[in-house]
C-alpha cells in the first residue's frame, strides 16, 4: 500500500523550471527524508504535492485516490518562516486550528476540542505556554506549537518542511520521537531535511532532489557519496565530512 504516489510533477515559477518530472512512491508507515541543496525545490515539491502551488503537469495520489479527496488525512508543518508570528493569537489557538475539520463551518471549538488541543501541547512539552502570545515564543517553541497543531490534525500522512531548522538538540529529539511514534501508529511522514549527518538515523527512505530527482529509495542504497555529489554538485565543503557516515552504513 502506497501512502503517497507522485507522478511526473513539474513546476515553473515565472517560466523558470523549479521542478522537473519528479516521481516517487512512499509506502505506508515509513519516514522519508527529502534532501537537497538550497533552492533544490524541496519546499516547492511539498507545496505542489499539497496543491498549494499550480503545477505544470503531474498527478498526486494519496492511498491510491486523488489527493483532492484526501485532504482530511493530510497533516502539514510548514517552514517556520512562512507565517506571520506577530499575528495576535496564542499557542492554544494555533493548535486548535489543526482541529478545523473536526469543528466545522460556523461552529466554535467545544470543550472536547480544546482538551484535545491541550493534550497535543502537552505532548510537545508546551502546556505551560498555552496562553502565550505566539511572537513571545522562541524559535524552538514555535516549532513545537506547529508540531502540536499537526498532531491535532490527527492525519495519516504528514509533511514537514525543515522542522529541525534553528531548534536546539532537545527539541530535535522531541520532534524525532514524535515522528517515530507516528510511524509506530502506522502514519507516514515526509520530512525536508538538511543535516546529512543524521540522515541514516532518521529516515527509512530518502529522496535526493535537485530540480529533478537524483535518487530515491531505501536510505542505505540511496544515501551514497556518488549520489550526494550528484545532488550537491560536489561543490560543498561539508560534504567532506559526510562520507564517513555514509560509508559506515553501507
Amino acid at each position: 500500500m502506497y501512502a503517497l504516489s507522485v507522478k511526473d510533477i513539474s513546476v515553473t515559477y515565472d517560466k523558470q523550471l523549479a521542478l522537473e518530472d519528479v516521481s516517487f512512491a512512499v509506502p505506508e508507515g515509513s519516514i522519508t527524508g527529502i534532501i537537497g541543496p538550497n533552492g533544490a525545490g524541496k519546499s516547492t515539491l511539498i507545496k505542489s504535492i499539497l496543491q498549494l502551488l499550480p503545477t505544470l503537469s503531474g498527478n498526486v495520489e494519496v492511498f491510491h485516490k486523488p489527493i483532492k479527496s484526501q485532504k482530511k488525512i493530510i497533516g502539514y508543518v510548514p517552514q517556520r518562516s512562512e507565517v506571520d508570528w506577530d499575528f495576535p493569537t496564542n499557542a492554544l489557538d494555533v493548535v486548535l486550528m489543526g482541529r478545523y475539520n473536526h469543528i466545522g463551518l460556523f461552529k466554535r471549538a467545544n470543550k472536547k476540542e480544546v482538551t484535545w488541543a491541550k493534550t497535543c501541547l502537552e505532548k510537545v512539552g508546551m502546556q505551560d505556554y498555552a496562553t502565550r502570545q505566539i511572537s513571545q515564543l522562541s524559535g524552538g517553541q514555535q516549532q513545537r506549537v506547529f508540531l502540536a497543531r499537526a498532531m491535532a490534525q490527527d492525519a495519516k500522512v504528514y509533511f514537514m518542511d525543515e522542522p529541525f531548522a534553528g531548534v536546539d538538540a532537545s527539541t530535535e529529539k522531541a520532534i524525532i520521537q514524535l515522528m517515530k511514534e507516528w510511524k509506530a501508529e502506522g502514519k507516514t511522514v515526509l520530512v525536508v531535511h538538511h543535516d546529512l549527518q543524521t540522515v541514516n538515523d532518521y529516515f527509512d527512505h530518502v529522496l535526493l532532489l535537485n530540480k529533478s530527482p537524483i535518487a530515491y529509495g531505501e536510505t542505505q542504497t540511496v544515501f551514497t557519496l556518488d549520489n550526494l555529489e550528484q545532488a550537491y554538485g560536489g561543490k560543498i565543503a561539508f560534504l567532506q565530512k559526510a562520507p564517513a557516515t555514509v560509508k559506515e552504513s553501507t
Binding site: 499539497l50 498549494l52 482530511k72 507565517v83 506571520d84 495576535p88 489543526g98 478545523y100 460556523f106
Partner: protein, 296 residues
C-alpha cells in the same frame, strides 16, 4: 433627534464600521488595498447611477461591492502574471478611479455628484438627506446605509470568524485543511467596499482610508488577542469620531478632517505609550533594566 445628534451618530457609525472591518485588512498587511478600493468604488457609484438613473442607496451598495471585488480581482490577476503587488494596486486603482472621474463629468449636470464631494465628503450635510417614504421622514439615508452595512459586516465576521482568523494567520495551512481562503478574501473586499460607500457621504474617499486603517493599526499596538483587536478597533473608531466632532465644533474646522486627525492622535498615543509595544515605555523599561544590571 437634533442635527447635531445625527451628525455624531453618523460619525460613530463610520468609526465603528470602518474600524472593525479595516482592522482585518491591517492584519493581512493589505492596507494599500483599502486605499485602492476607496477610490475605485467611485466607479461603482457612477455605474449604479448609469444603470438606475438615481442615487439610491441599495444600487450604490451593489455597484460598490461589484467594483470592489473587481479591484481585488484585477490586482490579483496583474500580480499573478508577474507585476509587483504594490504596482498592481497602483495601476488598477488609478485606472478605475480615472474611469469613474470621466464618467462623472458626463452626468455632472444631471446630479449632484462632484469629485470634490466624493473625495472629501461632508458630514454636516448628512442630516438633510433623509429617507422619506410617503412624506414621512425616517432619518438620514447615510445612517440607514451605515447601519445596514455595520450589521452585514458584523454578521459576516461572526459567521466566518474562525475562517477569517485562520486564513489571515496562515493562508497555506488554511487552504490545505479546507478553509475557503479565496472566498474569504473576496468577502473581505466586499465588506471593505460596502463600508467605504456607506461612509462616502460623510467622510469621503480619502479620509475613509484613515478610518479603515488607523484604528486597526492602533489596536494592534494594544492587544495580543484577535477578538479584542476587532472590538478595540471599533471602539477606537468611535472615540475618534467623538473626539473629532468635539474638536471640529470647538475650533470651527472640518468635521471629517478632525475625525481623521483624531485617529492619528490616538495612534500616536498608543505608539508612544502602549504598555506592550509603546516606544517610550519600552525605552523606560530598558533603562530600568540597565540600572538594575549596573547596580547588581
Amino acid at each position: 433627534m437634533t442635527y447635531t445628534m445625527w451628525i455624531i451618530l453618523t460619525g460613530c457609525l463610520v468609526g465603528l464600521t470602518c474600524g472593525v472591518t479595516g482592522s482585518i485588512l491591517v492584519l493581512r498587511k493589505m492596507s494599500m488595498i483599502a486605499d485602492a478600493i476607496s477610490h475605485t468604488v467611485l466607479l461603482g457609484i457612477v455605474g449604479a447611477f448609469f444603470v438606475t438613473q438615481s442615487l439610491n442607496g441599495v444600487p450604490m451598495l451593489i455597484g460598490a461591492g461589484v467594483v470592489g471585488i473587481l479591484t481585488a480581482l484585477f490586482v490579483e490577476m496583474l500580480h499573478s502574471s508577474g507585476v509587483q503587488s504594490d504596482a498592481a494596486i497602483g495601476i488598477v486603482f488609478t485606472s478605475l478611479f480615472a474611469l469613474g472621474v470621466v464618467l462623472i463629468s458626463f452626468i455632472g449636470d444631471q446630479v449632484h455628484l462632484d469629485v470634490q464631494h466624493a473625495l472629501m465628503g461632508e458630514i454636516a450635510f448628512v442630516p438633510w438627506d433623509t429617507l422619506s417614504i410617503n412624506g414621512v421622514s425616517y432619518g438620514p439615508i447615510a445612517v440607514w446605509m451605515l447601519g445596514a452595512v455595520l450589521i452585514i459586516n458584523l454578521l459576516l465576521i461572526t459567521l466566518f470568524y474562525k475562517e477569517i482568523k485562520m486564513s489571515t494567520f496562515d493562508a497555506q495551512f488554511a487552504t490545505l485543511i479546507g478553509v475557503p481562503v479565496v472566498f474569504i478574501h473576496y468577502l473581505l473586499m466586499t465588506m471593505v467596499s460596502l463600508s467605504t460607500v456607506a461612509s462616502f457621504d460623510s467622510v469621503g474617499a480619502i479620509l475613509v482610508v484613515a478610518m479603515l486603517i488607523v484604528p486597526g493599526a492602533t489596536a494592534y499596538l494594544l492587544t495580543d488577542r484577535f477578538l479584542i483587536l476587532l472590538i478595540l478597533s471599533g471602539v477606537i473608531g468611535v472615540v475618534s469620531a467623538l473626539m473629532g466632532y468635539w474638536f471640529a465644533v470647538s475650533f470651527n474646522v472640518s468635521i471629517a478632517g478632525s475625525m481623521a486627525v483624531a485617529t492619528g492622535v490616538l495612534f500616536l498615543v498608543a505608539f508612544l505609550f502602549s504598555p506592550k509595544h509603546g516606544v517610550i515605555l519600552r525605552k523606560w523599561r530598558n533603562k530600568i533594566e540597565e540600572n538594575v544590571q549596573q547596580s547588581a
